[in-house]
Symmetry: C2
Subunit: 261 residues, 2 copies
């Protein structure tokens, strides 16, 4: 039997605990009372809780309570909390994709991809807190990977090269997403405190980051470039754009060099 001939059920057994659920590979049970909940409902509620109060607020008790059930009832649907977290992660990746662009617009396509995946982090600040235990295997997550590959379809690249580029670009999106999220959080919670005291981390760092010990960082701390002050010349958007354009330039150069050969 070749590997391609696995039945969904067989494939499900090879996947980690929660992943099979995400693929809808669990046959609905035949006997017993009708279910009063559904996996989708549980995951949606967990996402709702996390969106509101952060990932640490997501306990089996909290999620079940908000649905009007006991904590233990969730285990009839989901084998463990880790599985629930994986399902939440995949659910956050269930977003509409923009329409396909012509292959020559690959730069714009990759830009859209980065901005779109950054939005996942903004819409679900907890997204980056879920530990990554391996390569993405959830269906929605893989659709995101597929999306990242889409702009590359017309380029003369090997498969490993394509994979490396998506890795590069999506890693960049993750970094920016987390950063953006941190700033959003700071704005939400810290602004008033900062205004009241007139001091914040920057002030502390200015006192601690001595030029002898940190010769290269020191000027950036003093000017506020490190802590991201001066919103005129530095908003997160421009920060994201800068790095992204460098990456795209690097990829373009690679394509040109490859053509020359």
């Amino acid at each position: 039997m070749s590997k391609e001939d696995l039945t969904p059920e067989e494939a499900a057994k090879l996947l980690p605990a929660g992943a099979a659920l995400g693929w809808g590979l669990v046959k609905p049970p035949q006997r017993g009372p009708k279910r009063e909940m559904s996996i989708d409902q549980i995951v949606a509620k967990a996402v709702e809780v996390a969106d509101k109060d952060g990932i640490q607020a997501v306990s089996m008790n909290r999620v079940a309570s908000e649905l009007g059930f006991t904590a233990m009832s969730l285990y009839r649907y989901i084998p463990s909390k880790d599985a629930l977290l994986l399902l939440m992660q995949d659910a956050a990746c269930d977003i509409p994709l923009p329409p396909e662009r012509p292959p020559q617009e690959w730069r714009e396509g990759l830009r859209e991809y980065v901005m779109g995946t950054i939005d996942i982090f903004r819409n679900h600040p907890w997204y980056g807190d879920i530990p990554i235990l391996g390569i993405p295997i959830g269906p929605n997550n893989l659709r995101i990977v597929d999306w990242g590959l889409r702009p590359l379809r017309g380029l003369e690249l090997g498969e490993y090269e394509k994979m490396s580029i998506v890795l590069l670009v999506s890693g960049y999106a993750r970094t920016c997403g987390m950063l953006q999220r941190d700033i959003d959080r700071a704005v939400q919670t810290g602004t008033s405190v900062e205004e009241f005291s007139g001091l914040n981390y920057s002030a502390a760092l200015r006192a601690l980051v001595k030029p002898e010990q940190f010769p290269h960082l020191h000027p950036l701390v003093m000017s506020g470039a490190y802590t991201g002050e001066n919103e005129e010349e530095n908003n997160v958007g421009s920060d994201v754009d800068f790095g992204l354009e460098r990456i795209l330039d690097g990829i373009e150069l690679f394509l040109e060099r490859k053509k020359e050969r």
Copy 2:
């Protein structure tokens, strides 16, 4: 009073709980019995536990027990577990830096930086699991940032540009570090299982990733490029190198364009 004139004690109060400890800003207590432990000792033991059994094995009880004390005794040194985690993170950044290179070797310098920070993830697989709550503020962590800025010192870049570049490069290092760690983990634990069954995630994905749903990902899954098979043409090192060279090319292009103007 200008911001630069903060005393260490004043600065300590502005920093989050654990950070002040990392900077050694806590005056040793005058009265009372001699301390039988030290913060460094506690953090070192916590790191040891995490290196051996993962971050989830690090409990106040476990760390204290291994030192021959009770869990509560740790709170005489460290205000909370979150603070301990921050100190662990900073401790992992306490590594020797390579000697400075001449400014024109900035590419090689950045390469060294990326590889060096990736090593932190390899030496401490738990490092990436500690949630990032904001910009780095620990002393060792800031030394790493300073290191990243060092190769840029001779280049004609604005401060925000330098910061963006370090962000770009260190984010890439993080992504690669996590990936490398995942692979190391898989090799440690999963190899035997994979050999026995002859099947792994790849097999499941081959059955699930249909060309209709995943038109661009499908060929990569089939060829094994997605799951990273074929070690000859794809080892992690080459993967890291590929993305890194694109990034460095992009930066170089930026520098050239800036000179032209």
